[in-house]
């Protein structure tokens, strides 16, 4: 079974926000909720880079670890999903998430949060695949239709890659070899366990350790980029 991952190639992203728009439209996401966002660093300065970020579907998902009602689950493909019927909107997953993925509609008094919403890797929730109930709560289930997440499918420069980690890695590796440089697979070592053999279908290797890592590319867990 494939292990699904996102990869945003910061050397290619042109900040067009098509991924954000595609996501919002495909899942009919309400105003104020951003499952995916585009962040620009060094905006207008030399070295400006743009990165599209959403839930990274971490191996050891912090949201899942801290949820008081245990509403998260990870599919066989490594996608982190949650059950909105159980979610109480406590906000703990947002405290824990490194990527700011969980979103909450404002519901009720004070800062009372509604049920959490986040990227599903276009694969719905616990309801039957492509049912009306699933669509209303979680949006389209494209994986069940044999399609990949729309954000990546839409990406005009193919900066955003989504799918089987082996294929995503191969594409990125080819790019790095062709370009002659890499800039690290952004967010991977924060999201995915990089010890050799720990991650399904992920051979590991220094290519994905980020450029900030030590020379020699020792596998570093939860460090670097």
């Amino acid at each position: 079974m494939a292990r699904m991952k996102f990869l945003c190639d910061a050397e290619r992203c042109i900040e067009c926000n098509a991924c954000v728009t595609a996501c919002k439209n495909e899942h009919e996401i309400p105003w104020g909720i951003n499952r995916r966002r585009v962040v620009t660093i060094n905006d207008g300065k030399p070295g400006e880079r743009t990165i599209s970020v959403a839930c990274m579907h971490c191996s050891d998902a912090p949201c899942k670890a801290v949820c008081p009602v245990d509403c998260f689950y990870q599919t066989d493909e490594g996608v982190v999903l949650h059950n909105k019927d159980l979610c109480i909107g406590c906000g703990y997953c947002f405290y824990a998430c490194p990527f700011g993925a969980p979103q909450y509609p404002q519901a009720g008094n004070f800062g009372t949060r509604g049920k959490m919403d986040k990227c599903t890797f276009c694969s719905g929730g616990p309801e039957p695949d492509n049912s009306e109930a699933e669509f209303k709560k979680y949006g389209r289930n494209r994986l069940a239709e044999g399609k990949l997440p729309l954000c990546a499918e839409m990406c005009s420069t193919k900066a955003l890659l989504a799918g089987d980690a082996d294929k995503v890695s191969d594409i990125y590796r080819e790019r790095v070899a062709a370009r002659g440089f890499g800039s690290g697979a952004w967010g991977w070592s924060a999201a995915y366990q990089t010890k050799l053999g720990q991650e399904r279908g992920q051979p590991g290797g220094s290519l994905f350790q980020g450029t900030g890592g030590p020379a020699g590319g020792l596998p570093v867990q939860k460090q670097g980029l």
Binding site: V39, I41, P68, G187
Partner: protein, 352 residues
Amino acid sequence: MEGHRMKTAVAALLLGVGLAGGLALPAAAQSSVRIGGPAAEQQVDRDGPMVPTQIPGQDRGDSWHAIRLGEQGSVSIPNKQAGVLIQSEGEAWRAVRNGPLSQYGSWVLGGILALLALFFLVRGRIRIDGEKTGRTIQRFNAFERGVHWMTAGSFVVLAISGLNLLYGRHTLLPLIGPEPFAALSHYGKLAHNFLGFAFILGVALIFVMWAHHNIPSRHDLTWFLKAGGLFSKGVHPPAHKFNGGQKVIFWSTVVGGAALGFTGVQLIFPFSFATLEEMQLYQLAHAAIAVIMIAIILAHIYIGSIGMEGAFDAMGDGQVELQWAREHHSLWVEDVTGEKVRHAHRHGTPAE
């Protein structure tokens, strides 16, 4: 060609060293790379053109590292906080909450329950030693009792719903199943959000009502030296309206309650007053203080109910047996009734 270049380079280096040594000592001290100035930079040519990802004078790796450490970029959506790509504090929050906080918290709560059970087994119920008079005096009026029970009632619900968030997943959830547990936790969250304000009001009123009775005095020293007579039958150190132990409970409630109220308000209005990092710290503080408060209040509940004969009446109908008052609050009885209580034996009380 190569030889010529070498010569130029050596000349440039010499010139550079000369310049550095003669004119630019401070500069040389700062940088071991740029000794030569413009002439020596030709040497770098052999490294070829920069790759497009490099920025002159800046290490690409450094900027990625800065992002890993939480540097904020810009976003086009209204929520500018979304510009943070990676926040690593959450990992620490998770580690503390799921680790020491839960673990030490369970030890504290288990410990106090074990201590109280042991105390009950060894000491039993603390009885009124002297002959009961059948007469009562008023200890707390209706307003005081109302405030006490508002604070107490809200605290119990807050404590249970709070403990449920920390421990329910591993205790109650497997027992009753995901859906009932989620529903319970949902109503628990709502109750927690609303009753928090009742608790804050209660603690504020408690402070106003009883602070002047709880200023430490010399009698408290005696009380603590005799351990309030808790461990010895017939020992009753003198006390005014509140004895040393009760003063500890009072100030714990006021200080702990204020801390819980402050951190709670920070959390109930997310991002209104605090940043995410501060909220993570407030949440940990809120939970840790709450666990300690629950332990203290468990002891308070014990001694105010099954632990001591006659104690509950003070907060029940407000009328306490005169003999109970003589034993546990001799100086208060003197203040109220003018009666001279004999101090030779049998006075004092543990914390209610």
